[in-house]
Symmetry: D2
Subunit: 386 residues, 4 copies
């Protein structure tokens, strides 16, 4: 197989999981702008996700968020997905939207609230059993807004205890992915604010606990690819929540704010072993003002383009320049790959898979946007609140 053929083959195996909530409405604390045609149920979200997969061939699974995607019969929902060429992916817990969680969930000072949060996490594991999902993604909004509000260390103790109990409940092929976030919604301390904290907890829990890197969850200037490389070296990288940001956790389309950074991240993934099954590529975005389905298609394409460029890095030339300490030559190898226009290559990949070379155009031609705008009238549009 030629090198280019190998690159194409690799690209054909890459899968990006899309999040059910990105098909629903989202916004800022100032306003949620509704859009026409937004799904009103988990099934309608799957219908939209099927469009993304149909046009990209690279988005075969959909992450669920509990309770936003709570249904009576999860097996039926899994079947519904399967009929549309999809499978249900990661289960995302939510311990931040009940009034009880005002001061935290598993880190709350009150044991009753902690118990309630824990029960929700157990419910999520039950749902995984029903859907066949392999990964439980845990993001805790827990933290404090004011110095003194709660005891930093005791909150860590409570967190550790809850994680241990959930870990205990995991099946043999199930994993717990622990997400960290720099800040928001808590504004003074966050109980899992950085990769170090997530790593320390996962290390104690065991091999089924892994760290998730959300690309928008870091302090200004943080070198994310360094964290990716480090977690891969430690065998503790469970996956990504992809999105992009200029400021805080802006949740823009991945690759929109800093495509060079996305490329560098994907290079470290390839460098660290490629698309091992244990590194999940997930989107976690908010399409507040742009049309949601084509934005998700575009996001999948952006991940593919960054991946293609990362695969094109001449690793032998790079290693040689690095060995010689030739700073400019080594940098040039990286930049040569980055500066390559990989859109023709990805067009070929898609056409070889029987897809349209231009997924966005194909989606627009499909008439889906008009159809859902016309049909999905009445009812309550899905959003973060439900």
């Amino acid at each position: 197989m030629t090198e280019l053929a190998a690159v194409k083959a690799a690209l054909k195996t890459q899968a990006v999981e899309t999040p059910s909530w990105a098909y629903g409405n989202s916004g800022t604390r100032f306003k949620v702008f509704a859009q026409p045609g937004v799904p009103r149920s988990p099934r309608e979200k799957l219908d939209d996700a099927a469009q993304v997969h149909a046009h990209t061939g690279a988005a075969p699974s959909v992450a669920l968020h509990i309770p936003w995607d709570r249904v009576e019969d999860y097996a039926a929902l899994a079947g519904y997905a399967e009929e549309r060429g999809l499978r249900l992916g990661t289960i995302n817990s939510n311990t931040f939207q009940d009034d009880d969680y005002k001061l935290g969930s598993v880190c709350h000072p009150d044991a009753t609230v902690r118990r309630k949060a824990l029960d929700h996490l157990f419910e999520c594991v039950d749902i995984m059993d029903a859907t066949g999902s392999k990964d439980l993604k845990l993001w805790f909004a827990d933290g404090t807004n004011y110095p003194g509000q709660d005891d930093i260390r005791e909150r860590q103790d409570r967190l550790a205890e809850a994680l241990a109990q959930v870990y205990e409940r995991l099946g043999d092929d199930q994993r717990m992915l622990l997400e960290y976030k720099f800040f928001e919604p808590a504004f003074y301390t966050t109980d899992v604010p950085d990769w170090g904290t997530a790593y320390a907890h996962c290390l104690k829990l065991g091999p089924k606990a892994q760290v998730v890197v959300d690309t928008g969850h870091h302090a200004p200037g943080t070198n994310i690819e360094f964290i990716v490389a480090t977690l891969l070296r430690e065998r503790k990288l469970g996956g990504f929540d992809f999105n992009s940001r200029f400021y805080a956790d802006d949740d823009l389309m991945v690759g929109a704010a800093d495509p060079f950074q996305l490329f560098r991240i994907m290079y470290e993934v390839i460098r660290g072993g490629g698309f091992a099954p244990d590194v999940a590529f997930m989107l976690d975005q908010c399409h507040n003002i742009e049309a949601k389905i084509p934005a998700i298609i575009r996001s999948v394409m952006n991940v593919q383009e960054a991946t293609a460029k990362a695969l094109l890095v001449d690793r032998d030339a790079l290693a040689a320049a690095q060995r010689e300490g030739d700073v400019l030559a080594a940098n040039a190898v990286i930049m040569d790959a980055y500066n390559t226009d990989v859109r023709p290559l990805l067009r070929e990949v898609r056409e070889e898979l029987g897809l349209d070379g231009d997924p966005v155009a194909a989606y627009h031609r499909s008439g889906w946007a008009g159809k859902i705008a016309a049909e999905r009238v009445g009812g309550e549009q899905a959003g973060w609140g439900a």
Copy 2:
């Protein structure tokens, strides 16, 4: 008058305007936690504001937010305020919560939307006429989320045009206070992102256009007191929106995150001429998880404490050390004032005004919190949405 007497006299004249919306519910994009006893109408907000003024003696006016505080009869509302020892203060416009404003208001590419926004601003001036408010505070959520989404320069042209029309409508003793904000809710460009942009517009508009400094609206590391000093030197500082932050626009209680910074800001205010009537001290905060009325009382007290310390700076000693280039001595003068415990002094000031020396304790003893929790049942609690 002794020096301490002068400090006390100055403190007795300081007034901090509280914002009607801080008495209502607020939150993050993840969740708005409701609190018991929250007002359901502008009048109930004024009832709460009257509590803050009753216990601090320093919060005589209340800022309104249109449409959140829209009423049929503004003169009647002003009378209601007056009966409670208050007056209506700054009118705050809102051009970010209609669906039309998804891509902006006065900077929107569509002239129809711009016209609608402008009409709202005119309405705000009409309300000022009815309430006797002197200041119109303009904060625009306008901006873009993605590179290319709109033309940066044309948006400035549209902004300038709208501002000029509003300026034209102002009465002789009315002002326009233009607020800038680093980011949020827009995540790529913001149309008034920094003091320089606000200043440039105000300069062209004329003397009735002034810049507002919201202490939470800056890039990480920005030296806010430098901006304050500069705007005062340029006679373009219209006032403050006080709050505090560790990360982004966290809207925490002023003085909670960095009390030393607040002191430095107040020092520049004193240095720049003291409490001239043309620098408005306003709060703009969100009490998402803490009880609102005592948080606002505490915030007023924090401003007073920072002011007291700023007034205590030995300016002669400071000037002498600065002239001599004695870095440590000059810094020590500033730190001596900052390290002083001014709580006893403020207690005296309050008692001389016939108030309880401890406003928070007095509020808790008053039974107001229990009363409103019991009485304000049913109806819709005020919040950002209404």
Copy 3:
């Protein structure tokens, strides 16, 4: 002329000024690593700059830094440059390296020091007269390290006074370019910390005073292209000091850290009127660990590539999408240009100019690096200190 021909024609007119000091040694406060072959005199710097121009065809002028490039006979130096196909460009002042400047230069509390600094600035204007340089670039390291160290406002007064005197001395076709910087070497206040401060001073001075944007001199997250667009709209953009950074003022090769940002900046330049003669493109970089001449060649190429992409933006399609409020379509127009591989186009441009298509390779083949390493032995290598 076809559109592509127009792009090529524009690229052929673009000139990037290289700074004499980038050919000398530089480093951090921890260490300056010397490199073989570094120039020991202004003439040797010009020899190296001639190499950059010979291979790129786009670097015809060289900025001088006084006193680092002080010579007895500036006319002779200008002649030396001319013989090598170069001309002397911007004169950069230095008021930060004498012991007298410990607490500032033109903002110093002591009038004697201010006078000394002012005399240096006058000397720089004299040198401009001798060299024919059109631009005086002013960067002041002035600021304070500790709260209280000096009076913020008085420092502005002193600054304004000095600038006015220098402005007075400028000839009819000479300009003063005022640079701002977020921080460093001062760590608490900086006397010209942001574009707003520089703009306010330049506005009062008059049309010959213009603002310089150094791309490394901003707070984290600052949207630089917004500033560029705003200054162009205000007719106050004098030029750029190009470099790139991940953290602070890292002074890395332009385009190395965030090539997408550089493209967006260049788009605003094109959008704002193209390569008007009054916007100077200058490099201001430190090649601490990489070979200097090829790093500068690479930097010139990076500016050209960003410019080429900016020129390729389909402005009609962009305007149409913006008018329609089609966020994704508008963003796609920008991304299509950015994702284009413009290296073949620039290769053609160079070949049409009679140059090698690959300037870095041509430089390496030239033997210059070996020659200067062999010949420039003994003497004192140029650096920031001399």
Copy 4:
């Protein structure tokens, strides 16, 4: 013992180590301003350190930096210290000032350079044996400036290998303190950029490897007290390098930029067990423009003031408010302690120890500054370079 007596007793036991290099000259990449009377030898640095201890009673040990403090006879140097009431403290390694280290030291791609760096670290352990120092502080300037310059993971492998070899050489009561730093002098990747990386390495090495928190080495907005609490909980906090900053690693006097943050850090130290012998309090500062000895005295006092306030926190009241979820009450407990003026208390503590209540004034009265300025003439002043 009354509570206040306990606080005083605790304060009397607190010791802050001062760094030998803070007595020498330092600066920025732009300029090192020399000061009169600066030491020219390690012994003169100890003479100055003895002044700091004489006036504060709280600075009994001095950290050395190798090679800046290299002497022939370390036992003699230790004796010299002892005669002045001091002891030699932490040994700091330096692997960033030889030309060989341009691309790194223990992480360098070339094994020869790595070996050289390792030998230097072994030398430092030998010096510890000679001086009786217990701690080896390791800060590596290693990193890269450009994407692709070197392989992130291989550098971690090299680092791990070097650390393991040094660890092996430590005696039973010797420790290795690993310092992390966000950036500088490397501008793209830093090989130990955050506490997580330092923690992961120390965890594998064993109990004698501990993390050092330099308060100036974090990304903007990082919550340092959270890291302190976490490392104490993990029993991996080895000590502090105290200083303060507004922007990057400004190395200003500790407590000068954000005294409230210093207080919160000290609260977590007290909360986590108090002045256990295994948490070293060290200064690491640069007094670029201010007089060095009084700046160090002031820094020691700032640490003491923050500690006194932290000791005054009413922990029972705090715990009660936290348990009840009373955000404002809990925050008020913290702020009450912080707002207390502890200078009179510390004055008493000093007087009870037989010291002057005002160490800065006592130092100025001592005539030491005039004496060293007069006597230390000629020779080469100590600085970072020697």
